[in-house]
């Protein structure tokens, strides 16, 4: 399994998915679109890593899935954030901020 094109850091995809689902419950395709839109196309999520990631998150109890009907009237599996997922998101966001600040500082120093 190769890393996605945008070379997301390990764990970053999880964070992005959680963040996206924090806004509203969403199906897999919607998640990729949303991430792409918000990042103005800078981040492209490959389905090959998306679906395993979704399953992993679900197994950890951070998200829940449910079959529903999509905007174009098709059966689609919707994912939504659970309570512990929300906690996880807060935690990971915090971690990410710390990490990026640290990296930023290092980059500026040189």
């Amino acid at each position: 399994m190769t890393k996605p094109k945008s070379d997301l850091l390990q764990g970053t995809l999880d964070l992005l998915i959680l963040k996206t689902l924090a806004l509203e419950p969403m199906h897999g395709w919607g998640i990729t679109q949303r991430i792409q839109q918000i990042s103005s196309g800078a981040l492209v999520v490959n389905q090959g890593s998306l679906y395993p990631a979704l399953l992993r998150l679900e197994q950890r109890g951070w998200i829940d899935s449910e079959w529903g009907v999509s905007e174009n009237n098709r059966q689609a599996k919707y994912y939504k954030l659970t309570r512990s997922g929300r906690k996880q998101l807060a935690e990971e966001t915090e971690n990410w901020r710390r990490l990026s600040t640290a990296i930023e500082q290092i980059l500026q120093a040189s």
Partner: protein, 887 residues
């Protein structure tokens, strides 16, 4: 964690389905991509192609997905479970025995826990119950304690304190007459805020209004759900109607909630009036004389403010009663100590220790079941060492073997747990009879979710405990050695030694349990044979309470009881009859300090004078109850001057050095130095109160005519079976007073038996546990010894070949089997003595080192173990060495 496991399990179980779901999900993704491409202006076909291209390998995604979905461990678990089930089914005898052992342990535990949960753990049915307290006031130096006063309630509700609300309760009873049989019901006068205070609104109608606490406006009642259903057929129109209480009309304003749990008087404080259950509530509207009196007859309930500590509240109360003490009796210099008691404790406090004892006994039983099972499994695994060796040789890891054995024991645990829960289900109801409060607290089905969770947890924990040791052993199996030796006896000395030490543990636990049960049993026998100082056999007691206009004067009341006892005396089969205000077994409702005739200053002597329980008695009472006369005479119908009959212990306290006969004719005063002199005409034997366990309480009897009581117990001694007279006694009462309900009519034996029912129950329960423990212990010894004989046949044969006689062999086996029993028994007996010393309050007239109980236990244990060793020993002695060695 659980959630994760559950999800994996689900994933696993739906393996095929989830694959399909992923297909559908990916399909959807692809379609959306296509639609999006079309929207960007591509043709349908092109859009699809581009979408597929950008999508990447579908199969690869699926593979990655499967990697995560597949939980390898789970697959192994499934395999283990199937394998374990096969192994268990192959030996149904073993499986049944093991599951049954476990079921006994789990069942006993769960049943007892259901009661423990209901009484000690379950939230009480009040909002924020943990902030409700009752208060107890005491003079520690004199070992006295009281409930509150009605005035305290009135002052406390006005004061700004750590408590947000205060409620008051006085228990009593009323005669309920009109429509239907007259009936005596337990009731309580409560402060008008009572139902709001508890936070349990009435189910129908309303509670009390503030204006109803003035005398005259208080003829309103709330009745209990139980009484409403029983007597009024749950008629919703009862609210708004009037019923007759003590001959006066009362308006029913509400029906209490069925789940309402209220403390009975004695639960709040032992000196409060006793009402076994409360069916009627009436507003507490203190009369002028009540407000002027000094009666500690009111149970106070206080609700602590959210941000206050109980200790702060207690200090405020203590300061309040300090001031009160200084004002009421400045010379006495006594400090009133106050204690805040959480409401839960008033429900559970009395039998908390006993319940915990029974619970501990059930825990020990469970532990024994564990050890028994561990031993059984150990033998089984030793027998399967060949199999384990092969599996190890084929590459099974140690962990793998460990989990496999553990899975097997977990399966046993589940089976045992289920059977055990069923056992618990059928016995928990019986346990509920342990205490009426417990019954109410249990409310319907005793097996609530927490209890079932407890059972499951116990079963699982047990499987870990009894499975761990054998599993560990199995996982250490040395493949090479085991295969070399063949699958005969890899167990060798180490496993055997280990098994024998387990037997020691088992016997030790069993002995401790058995010895505790023996001590309780001996206590109980002592208790039931105890000389109470009054007749128990062939005696019947009728509880009557006169009320209404026709009995408003002392004359009328005394005359009624005189007439009634005379009529009853004329009945065939009646040997003697009399009346007394408080039955000896039921405690006493009043205490007075007794003064010498020479005492003049109340304050200077009150602390040195004895107190005595007050009873009113008719002349015939002593003969009817067979209270022995020690000196002087009983009352007669002709006593005109104030006279008293005192108990021997009171005479001894007043005049320690004088013979009893010299006491006759001396004069005393009751309650105060200003009270009239009372002349002692007789000294009678002491009676044991209540459950006989309390210290002797000195008694002072006055003639009914001289100390009036509307409530009397008519005591009838019969020549035959007392129950046979019930109907004619009832009709005698009816003839004289058609509207007078008979509170209770019980034989003295029943009353006494009821007063020790709790003890009997916990004794029987502990005994049952102990017997099961003994059985398990004996089976354990038998199993291990015969297993060891089977394993050592070659050894035995060799010894025989070298000249040992069968007798030597039998002796050798016996010694071998009995050694762990001895060790266990000694440890167990020491343990039992230690346990009993810490539970001394549960014993009665029996020391923790009671030789009878301990020797009996040791003997029983020895005989049982001898039997358990004898059979394998005989088998060993009967072996033919030639046959064995040839094989």
């Amino acid at each position: 964690m659980l959630r994760k496991l559950f999800h994996r399990l689900r994933t696993r179980l739906r393996g095929r389905k989830i694959e399909g779901e992923l297909d559908r999900e990916l399909q959807f993704h692809l379609e959306m991509e296509t639609v999006e491409n079309v929207r960007r202006g591509m043709s349908e076909e092109e859009a699809r192609r581009v979408a597929l291209l950008s999508f990447g390998g579908v199969e690869r995604t699926k593979e990655a997905y499967r990697d995560i979905a597949r939980f390898r461990r789970l697959e192994e678990l499934w395999q283990d479970a199937r394998y374990g089930a096969r192994m268990l089914l192959k030996t149904p005898g073993f499986t049944a025995a093991a599951a049954l052992t476990l079921a006994l342990g789990v069942g006993a535990n769960t049943a007892v826990f259901s009661v423990v949960y209901a009484t000690l753990l379950k939230p009480l049915p009040y909002p924020e119950a943990e902030r409700i307290y009752t208060v107890e006031i005491g003079i520690p130096e004199r070992g006295l304690s009281f409930a509150g006063r009605i005035q305290d309630y009135l002052e406390w509700r006005k004061a700004d304190t750590a408590f947000s609300a205060v409620a008051a309760l006085q228990t009593g009873g009323w005669n309920l007459t009109g429509n239907g049989e007259p009936e005596r019901v337990g009731g309580a006068r409560v402060s008008v805020n009572f139902f709001e205070f508890l936070g349990v609104p009435t189910a129908l109608g309303r509670g009390f209004a503030p204006e109803e606490e003035t005398p005259g406006a208080d003829k309103v009642i709330v009745i209990s759900d139980a009484l409403w259903r029983r007597r009024y057929g749950a008629d919703p129109n009862l609210v708004g109607r009037t019923v007759e209480l003590n001959g006066q009309n009362h308006l029913v304003v509400g029906i209490a909630s069925p789940s309402l749990l209220v403390p009975t008087g004695t639960q709040l404080h032992s000196t409060l009036g006793f009402a076994p259950r409360i069916d009627i509530w009436k507003p507490l509207a203190p009369t002028q004389s009540e407000l002027e009196g000094e009666n500690f007859n009111t149970g106070l309930l206080l609700r602590l403010k959210a941000n206050e500590s109980a200790e702060h509240g207690r200090q405020q109360l203590e300061a309040f009663y300090y001031d009160y003490g200084r004002k009421a009796a400045p010379e006495m210099k006594v400090t009133l100590a106050t204690r805040l008691i959480p409401i839960r404790e008033i429900y559970s406090g009395k039998f908390r220790l006993r319940l915990l004892l029974v619970f501990a006994a059930s825990e020990i039983l469970l532990l024994i079941a564990c050890v028994t099972l561990a031993n059984m499994l150990l033998a089984r695994i030793a027998g399967r060492s060949g199999e384990f060796a092969i599996r190890t040789a084929l590459g099974a890891g140690r962990i793998r073997l460990l989990t496999q054995v553990l899975t097997e024991s977990a399966m046993l645990a589940v089976a045992g747990g289920f059977v055990g829960t069923a056992v618990a289900y059928s016995t928990a109801g019986m346990l509920a009879a342990y205490d009426p409060t417990a019954e109410k607290l249990l409310g319907g089905s005793p097996l609530k979710l927490p209890v079932l969770l407890f059972a499951m947890l116990i079963a699982l924990l047990t499987s870990m405990v009894f499975g761990a040791v054998p599993a560990w052993r199995a996982s250490r199996a040395n493949a090479a050695q085991a295969l070399k030796e063949g699958s005969v006896s890899v167990s060798g000395g180490r496993t055997a030694r280990f098994q024998f030490s387990l037997v020691s543990v088992q016997i030790a636990l069993g002995t401790a349990l058995l010895a505790s049960a023996g001590l309780l049993l001996h206590s109980f026998v002592r208790l039931s044979r105890f000389d109470r100082g009054y007749e128990v056999e062939r005696t019947l007691a009728l509880d009557l309470n006169l009320s209404g206009r026709s009995y408003s004067t002392t004359e009328q009341r005394v005359e009624f009881y005189r007439q009634l006892t005379e009529n009853i005396r004329g009945l065939p089969g009646v040997e003697a009859v009399g009346a007394v205000s408080d039955l000896p077994a039921m405690g006493v409702s009043g205490m007075q300090t007794i003064f010498y005739d020479t005492d003049t200053d109340f304050m200077s002597v009150v602390m040195q004078r004895p107190g005595a329980g007050q009873r009113s008695a008719s002349p015939g009472y002593f003969a009817a109850s067979l209270t022995p006369l020690k000196a002087g005479r009983f009352f007669t119908e002709h006593d005109q001057t104030p006279v008293a009959v005192i108990s021997e212990s009171l005479a001894k306290r007043l005049w320690p050095n004088d013979p009893l006969t010299s006491v006759i004719g001396r004069a005393i005063r009751e309650g105060d130095v200003t009270e009239p002199l009372v002349s002692i005409v007789g000294v009678v034997g002491d009676v044991r109160l209540g459950s006989v366990e309390r210290e002797l309480l000195p008694q002072l009897y006055r003639p009914h005519r001289q100390r009036d009581s509307s409530r009397m117990n008519v005591v009838v001694r019969t020549s035959g079976e007392p129950g046979a007279l019930a109907a004619s006694l009832r009709s005698e009462v009816r003839k004289l007073a058609p509207n007078l309900p008979i509170g209770t009519m019980r034989s003295m034996k029943e009353i006494v038996s009821a007063s020790i029912a709790q003890r009997r129950f916990e004794m029987l329960l502990t005994l049952a546990f102990a017997v099961i423990a003994l059985l398990l212990g004996v089976v354990g010894v038998y199993g291990v010894v015969s297993y060891s004989v089977a394993n050592r046949t070659r050894d035995i044969a060799l010894r025989m070949a070298l000249g040992a006689t069968p007798r030597d062999i039998a002796r050798w086996v016996l010694a071998h089997g009995l050694r762990p029993v001895f060790i266990g028994a000694v440890v167990g007996l020491l343990g039992a003595v230690a346990i009993a010393s810490s539970l001394r309050s549960l014993l009665f007239a029996v020391e923790p080192t009671d030789p009878l109980a301990l020797v009996a236990v040791a003997l029983i244990l020895l005989c049982a173990s001898l039997l358990a060793c004898y059979l394998p020993a005989r088998r060993a002695a009967g072996l033919n060495p030639a046959d064995l060695l040839r094989n």
